[in-house]
């Protein structure tokens, strides 16, 4: 009869943000300070439980959590008919990525959204999105996955449209909602197909019984497209730049992380469920094609943008391509025997790039939002000389930008190097394309930096952004720097358990 912190941490990662999301509107009835305190407490407690769970995974191995029973671990076959959460290395990697971004975006919100009315709804939606993404990542149950998918979609849609006095945010939110709802309903159809065929919803159980017939292939196609769409992979990327550009600045990294969460789910489904019956080579090749398209089209669309947030949005699409490419290469090697030579390296590169990208992209979006906050314009042609008045933001943007471009000392370089080395062995032309994309990314970061921060002081702003925004960017910068200084440690302690968590046994 006691509360075991460690055993229950996978559910507290959901329970705490949900509880505090519903408490914030109540606290708002009392006072604004209490509301802010409740939000901050919910955020910090959730992040704390994410780290408790991850620490337990890294020290004593993965486990599954069964909802509703008297025992939290699966005791018999009937446990597989309950809702299950997988607390493994992969969930740990993904939830850490989400938690870091949520912490940054949450602290950033205080000053950035100051003066808006209805902030209790903003905080509630923020925590709901946090819970939704965590649920999507942790769940090992298809129907539960659909529920969290919908929670994430609806809550993040509310966040995007939060500044509803700006017509364009509402338009972006409508686009996002339309795509999410259609995707969600198709996801439900494919879950129905699988459930009708096998009568179970558990990933592990389905992986064991799946035969790979026509119905399974239809279900795979739908699930694949839905999650690739939410991950803003190229043929389905059209919502992403609009949403990234028009959502409130503090929310943008969080929307980016929900799409990253969908990518995590896609990988978990492909690695954990479909690869046994559908063929790892075919699935991997599909990922490689999508990755190449995302990388190249994303970055070439970014070339012509003059809206700073939209430009970073396209860069984000192209970074998603790197992960798809690297993980696709890793997936193909699981069957054709190259896993030992370069497959493991590709997976390490891909997953390391995911956590890196989550952090530095959040930093980039937040520093771009700081520019917009200070000057009131997103147009690169009208910005200039901000380094004179905003030295800290300049440094933060530079670190994030150099990291996304893969400049040597920074974290983006370590993961990109792993990707280049491994995909070169798969096919040299892929590595060349990846390098070219990286060079164009560097040029684009140079364009933003030159246009917005360098040059004579145009008097666009009175000074630096408020302290809480700087603190949020500072936290993310410190994490980027830590990842840059100790890439080996991160790969060994966080990324390798994640690959093991996916069930890949070398």
């Amino acid at each position: 009869m006691s509360f075991d912190l460690i055993t229950h941490s996978p559910t507290m990662v959901l329970g705490i943000p949900l509880l505090f999301a519903f408490l914030t509107p109540l606290a708002d009835k009392v006072s604004k300070e209490l509301r802010d305190a409740v939000f901050m407490m919910g955020l910090l407690l959730t992040v704390f439980f994410v780290f408790v769970m991850s620490y337990e995974v890294y020290t004593s191995g993965a486990w599954t959590y069964v909802f509703g029973g008297t025992e939290s671990r699966p005791t018999s076959l009937t446990s597989y008919f309950r809702i299950m959460f997988a607390a493994d290395g992969f969930s740990a990697l993904a939830t850490i990525t989400v938690a870091i971004t949520a912490l940054g975006a949450g602290i950033y919100s205080f000053a950035f959204m100051d003066g808006h009315s209805g902030m209790e709804k903003y905080y509630a939606l923020f925590l709901l999105t946090f819970a939704g993404v965590n649920g999507m990542i942790l769940t090992a149950d298809l129907f539960n996955l659909f529920v969290w998918f919908e929670v994430t979609s609806i809550a993040s849609c509310g966040l995007i449209a939060f500044q509803n006095y700006r017509g364009k945010s509402v338009e972006a939110a409508l686009k996002y909602m339309l795509i999410s709802v259609i995707g969600g309903l198709f996801l439900l159809v494919s879950i129905g197909l699988l459930y009708g065929e096998y009568g179970v919803l558990n990933f592990y159980y389905l992986a064991a019984v799946m035969t790979g017939g026509l119905v399974d292939k239809i279900a795979l196609a739908i699930i694949f497209v839905v999650f690739a769409m939410k991950a803003s992979s190229v043929p389905m990327h059209m919502w992403a730049p609009d949403v990234y550009s028009e959502s409130p600045g503090s929310v943008t990294p969080f929307i980016a992380i929900t799409s990253m969460g969908s990518l995590f789910v896609l990988f978990r489904i492909l690695f954990g469920m479909f690869r046994f019956s559908m063929g790892a080579v075919e699935l991997g090749t599909l990922l490689i094609i999508l990755g190449l398209l995302s990388m190249f089209i994303g970055v070439s669309m970014a070339l012509k943008q003059s809206d700073v947030k939209r430009l970073i949005g396209y860069l984000s699409v192209s970074q998603i391509g790197y992960m798809l490419l690297a993980v696709g290469v890793g997936l193909t090697t699981l069957e054709n025997g190259d896993y030992g030579t370069f497959g493991a390296m590709a997976l390490e590169g891909g997953f390391f790039h995911m956590i890196n990208d989550g952090v530095y992209k959040a930093l980039l979006f937040l520093s771009a939002a700081a520019v917009v906050y200070a000057t009131g314009t997103k147009d690169l042609n009208r910005l200039g000389g901000l380094a004179h008045r905003m030295p800290y933001t300049t440094v933060f943007f530079l670190i994030g930008g150099l990291s996304i471009a893969g400049v040597p000392p920074l974290s983006g370089f370590s993961s990109k190097l792993l990707i280049y080395k491994s995909i070169y062995l798969y096919h040299p032309i892929l590595a060349i394309i990846a390098l070219v994309v990286s060079i164009i990314t560097f040029a684009l970061i140079g364009k933003i930096f030159y246009n917005a921060f360098l040059g004579p002081d145009l008097g666009l702003t009175r000074g630096e952004v408020p302290t809480s925004m700087l603190a949020a960017m500072m936290i993310l910068t410190v994490i980027v720097v830590v990842f840059s200084l100790f890439p080996n440690y991160v790969v060994a302690e966080i990324v390798v358990p994640a690959i093991e968590g996916l069930g890949v046994i070398p």
Binding site: M1, S2, F3, H8, T11, G15, L18, L19, F22, L23, P25, L26, K29, Y65, V66, F67, G68, G69, T70, E71, S72, I83
Partner: protein
Amino acid sequence: MNWKMSRVVRTVTDIMVVPIIVYGIYLIIHGHLTPGGGFQGGAVIASSTALLIVSYGSFRDYKKDFSSMESLGLTLFILLAIFGILLGATMFHNFGAGTGGLFGGTVPEGINPGYVNTGGTIPMMNIMVGLEVAAALSLILWMMAKASDSMEVEA
């Protein structure tokens, strides 16, 4: 704000609101036995709000009450789920079933007409969901009535 429906409509509304709410509560309480449950019952209760708004015009500011009720329902729902952990089991553990307390009756085996005082946390959660849905849908209806009111003034 100042319009009202005719006396006939208002009188029928006054009479009908009570059975509608009672029916909604019936659906919620019997959620674990018959078709229905928290969402459906809550929607039925909210329809009484719709009836009141239509017949009396959008009335005074209930926004704060509705939104408090909504958050309260959800908070209690998630607390019920977390309570399972505090009692030494797992999240969403049905700690109330078969204990003899509120909704804690044991279900006899075989064919039976269905006993309301069973189900443990399921009916409790249904009540919380009913509270949430009734408040949320009423709030939406109230907001819509208010918005269409202000549009009529402009036109």
